[in-house]
Symmetry: C2
Subunit: 345 residues, 2 copies
């Protein structure tokens, strides 16, 4: 396929032309969006609600590789990772702003692709795009998204509320996004050596989707509300289970025991880890980018959550002095390591 | 001076260490800042107020050149350009988030310098730093700032409210930031040829400060409130007077006449333009980065504003059909050109 056909340079449109093109079809969905794109600032009105704000910056070559990440997926993911932070406050996302720094190597059509993913995420999660900034960069693409959400004061959940004996829960399964990335990187290496070789991705659609098109777990936030369960502490898993549970424990001044055998992992995650001869546990604990929720609930809520197929209880909160531990299959306690995702390394 | 002494690599600290270092001294100033840095999102509470949100992305080599822009000034300016947008809504800035993408060439001390400027601006304008993201980039530095402000609904001023016969006003003087940039670029070229040559900056401290350390005109927003004047339309001058007045006219569906001889310019702006044999009017109309306010007021408010030394009346609003014009010293009407600042060109 010839991708260079019908491509328009950014300079043809100019800054104002590009902004007009990118913002012309924006529909306002929320009453709280008083004024969206088109003035010096957006105006939001939240009568009697708390407003939550979160922001993420994604840079080419660090957070994504355009050799194998389609721009539409990238736009979708850039929004989702921010919404995930809003849900992790037990709040509902309402608005986003999107800023782009683009090098001249990108065509207008490429930016349209990126925006189609952004719009898709806005539609799926019911958020309004209310502003941003579009500028150029000397090299590569940078995407900065800020998400704004709302919650009643009494509904907000912080990292700091975990209590002794609380159950530790995660949504979905872990490690898939990391294994999906390993797969994409392997095939990219093969492609560089032999561009005619077809990528071997069959049977791994789930972990690819986990990496390329993650979802934010607003569904679980709603489900918990319907079950009458308010988590005591919550965080989204962007940097791997290990560092996230340590964030909760540090902020809540408690310890934890999580059980190796309880950590939910998909068949494809385990299978591909096996193919690469790596321990899938490493992907779950330190891999990152799963965007599942990690939360704690009082022991008394056990019966309310145990039937939910999206929620797995993986351990419990302990005294701070016992530290943050994983109990292995053999029953040994191993101290967790906050390896995290170190983009500064 | 040896700048490489006592420099710490970013990798030494790691991501969490860097975040801790950058956020440890943050003081919360506003009641509306319920929760700042340290969770998935910040929490803001604005009882009965409207919330305004604006964001800007600054990239190395496009918006700033680290050959001659000190990092402290850069941090200050990155905040100020966003606060300027909040003031242009006739709102008060309350919180900011700051995201950085940093390449490994920067030391921890360099990032501290950048943050010292960010903190200085927060202090000066009374805003809380409530969140952000710190990540790496393959090349260069990118800074994304989002500012959040508040206003009573009835106080908000949009671009779209200018009425026939309204007076067109600007604050301060124009073109200085652009001429300051020309001076810095000239001296940088000289430096590249002969690093031992001392830069010739004497007598141009004002235009240098306009470029390196601009201020946002919150003082004028307050002054207008004290005078009992509410602008009908307002915008901040980031892209040059010409494109900003055209934004107001387009949004308000009106035309304008501005008078060449009324456009306020500083002596240094004119002098350095003369030295470079360029027309200083070009700097005022199309130069950008002055961060002054452009606004319209009803004719009836003339007497209230005429004594304010920070405000200059430069023209009036006309019928849409007459277009957007500048009346030259010779009395000729010239159509304004929306040249703007085109970082995509």
């Amino acid at each position: 396929m010839d991708n260079t056909k019908n491509q328009t340079t950014l300079a043809t449109l100019g800054e104002f032309g590009l902004i007009e093109r990118l913002t012309k079809n924006i529909q306002i969905q929320h009453k709280s969006t008083v004024k969206g794109v088109g003035d010096d600032a957006a105006v939001l009105g939240f009568e009697g609600k708390q407003v939550v704000v979160t922001t993420d910056l994604l840079t080419e070559g660090i957070h994504f590789n355009l050799m194998y990440v389609p721009l539409k997926h990238l736009g979708y993911k850039a929004v989702v990772v921010n919404l995930s932070d809003v849900f992790a406050m037990n709040a509902q996302p309402r608005q986003i702003t999107v800023s782009l720094a683009i090098s001249s190597k990108f065509s207008v059509e490429a930016i349209d692709e990126l925006y189609s993913g952004i719009h898709l995420a806005c539609e799926k999660y019911g958020v309004d795009l209310v502003g941003g900034d579009t500028t150029s960069s000397l090299t590569g693409l940078t995407i900065s998204v800020t998400a704004i959400g709302e919650a009643n004061q009494e509904d907000l959940v912080y990292r700091s509320g975990a209590q002794l004996n609380d159950l530790i829960c995660v949504t979905g399964d872990l490690g898939g996004a990391y294994m999906g990335l390993q797969l994409l990187e392997r095939e990219n290496e093969v492609f560089k050596v032999n561009p005619k070789e077809q990528p071997k991705l069959e049977g791994y659609d789930y972990i690819l989707e986990r990496q390329l098109k993650p979802e934010a777990r607003g569904d679980v936030v709603s489900a918990l509300k319907n079950l009458g369960v308010k988590p005591t502490a919550m965080i989204d898993i962007s940097d791997g289970l290990s560092s996230e549970i340590m964030h909760i424990c540090k902020a809540s001044k408690v310890g934890c025991s999580i059980y190796e055998e309880k950590i939910p992992m998909d068949f494809q995650t385990r299978k591909f880890a096996d193919e690469l001869s790596i321990n899938p546990l490493v992907a779950a604990l330190n891999g990152g980018e799963d965007y599942e929720l990690l939360f704690t609930v009082p022991l008394a809520d056990h019966d309310k959550i145990k039937q939910d197929p999206d929620i797995t209880i993986i351990g419990h909160i302990t005294e701070e002095s016992t530290g943050t531990n994983m109990i292995t299959g053999a029953g040994t306690a191993v101290a967790l390591q906050a390896q995290g995702w170190n983009p500064l390394g």
